[in-house]
Amino acid sequence: MSSSIADRVITNKDISRNRRKLGFKGTAWLIARYIGLIFLFGFAVLPIYVMVINSFKGITGVNQMNAFNIPTKLNFEAWPAAWAVLQVPMLRTLVFVLQSSIISAILGSINGYVIAKWRFKGSKLVFTLFLFGMFIPYQAIMIPLVQFNNRMGLGGSIYTLVLAHVVYGIPICTLIFRNYYAAIPDEIIEAARVDGASMVYIYRTIILPLSIPCFVVVLIWQFTSAWNDFLFAIFLTGGAPNLAVATTALNFLTGSGNQIYYGTNMTASLIVSIPTLLVYMFLGRYFLRGLLSGSLKG
């Protein structure tokens, strides 16, 4: 279901029918629409434009007044400088984010399958209680979570973040998979069951092979949100340098009065954004599916 909603957005509307003669009023409207679209385009692009051009002006080559201007000559010195600070945190982030995303996707798939196709008594209540977990402000669990981690000996390890993203990702992952599986006709499962196939067997042979697109959606969703997460990272690592992840390392670099090094700061911000931007560029439609599934109305 959710995929069809996303397809409505992704598929460009067929405009061949509109190609009849527009007339004066029609042309005026079309021009007005383009002006609006281009203005909004400028608004959307402006920040990333500023980030990109200023990353080629060197470490101190950016000043307050010239930041909108295209660099007069390309200077790459800010890139290695920013990368030197970010390399270790970014690799650390990549490793933990991959782990947490994969575990989340597996759990989401199992939960979604059962809730969509093998309802048990109270499964609806369970699902609703899961969903509420999606909306809570994580401040409301943060203090006990830190205590729990310390008591379990996880404190001071990156696994605190794996645990957090897996557990608090259960609601959204379950929701996305449930909506996806709900669109698979019950008759297929019914027929396999009549033939004596078990729940696990049906999952393995019928459901799982159909699930690849949904796995991509969930993996991308979890990857992006864990990569960009700052709240869990700052609370659970306590800002410890040996546990710095992409966002906390970047915040440490750009946040604390280092305003003179605009060049490095903007470059560092760009470097941290590259992984999620790449995912968006190449797998944008899956990203959008995740986004729209998160809006509940399947």
Partner: protein, 297 residues
Amino acid sequence: MQKRLKSRVGGFFFVLPSIIAVAIFVYGMIAYTLRISMSNRTSAYITNLGWAGLKNYTGLFHDTDFMHSFGNLLKFTIVFILGALLTGLIMSLLLEKGIKGEGLFRSFYLYPLAISFIAMGTVWRWLMSPNKDKEASGFNLILKSVHLGFLQNDWFTSSTGSMYAMALPAVWQVSGYVMALFLAGFRGIPDEMREAARVDGATEFQIYRQILFPQLSPTFLTVLIILGHISMKVFDLIVGISGKSYVTKVLSVYMWQVTFDATNFAKGSAIAIFLLLLIAIVVIPYLRYVNKSEEMK
């Protein structure tokens, strides 16, 4: 029959790990936060949970910093919701009939959602720089160069308008999301409905007002709920742009400060529970509405 029963129990068994995890980490921990918020753990040195009743909550309402943060959050929420709703709606209205280059516009309206605000904060801090006139940068520079110099202002460092300025990057980030939701809504309405109205002589304006918008009321509700809960939770946007600065402090940032810097766990918990209640008031009725409308299908 027996087989069916067995598989039902089997299904439960497979979801059980997640049920336990959610029960402990969501509901158990909320309950524990609630307990801490009613204790006297006002510093890291107090380790036992003495009973303090509602003292931490009543204390909040006499705490000027808390009231200031709450007021800021409300200001931000109003401007952010209106701004994002309007921008996203306009984006979708411009696109919904289809236009050459639709894919390009759509992709660029949506990309801000993929980027962390800790990263975008650096740029927005510069765009909304309070420097003016000769030293103008960012938006002030743009305003100056289009001869609207009198509009230059302090943006997020302003003592009165900081939260309205803060809503701007937030609108920038989510309006593409709102656009996608509305676009999905518009395109879920069969074209025949418009055609029929057109044949009956309705103007384009009437078609939107009387036919399309009424069909979109569930979308409006969804958008409002999504924007509302994003707004209440706003955190990295604020921290990314202005850190713990007083003029832009909201509940989540204040909670962080109280818990982290002052190690006042009792008070931090009380703020967190207050935030949870604010969101629950909006989200629980919505979840019930979604459940009901699914049953109707």
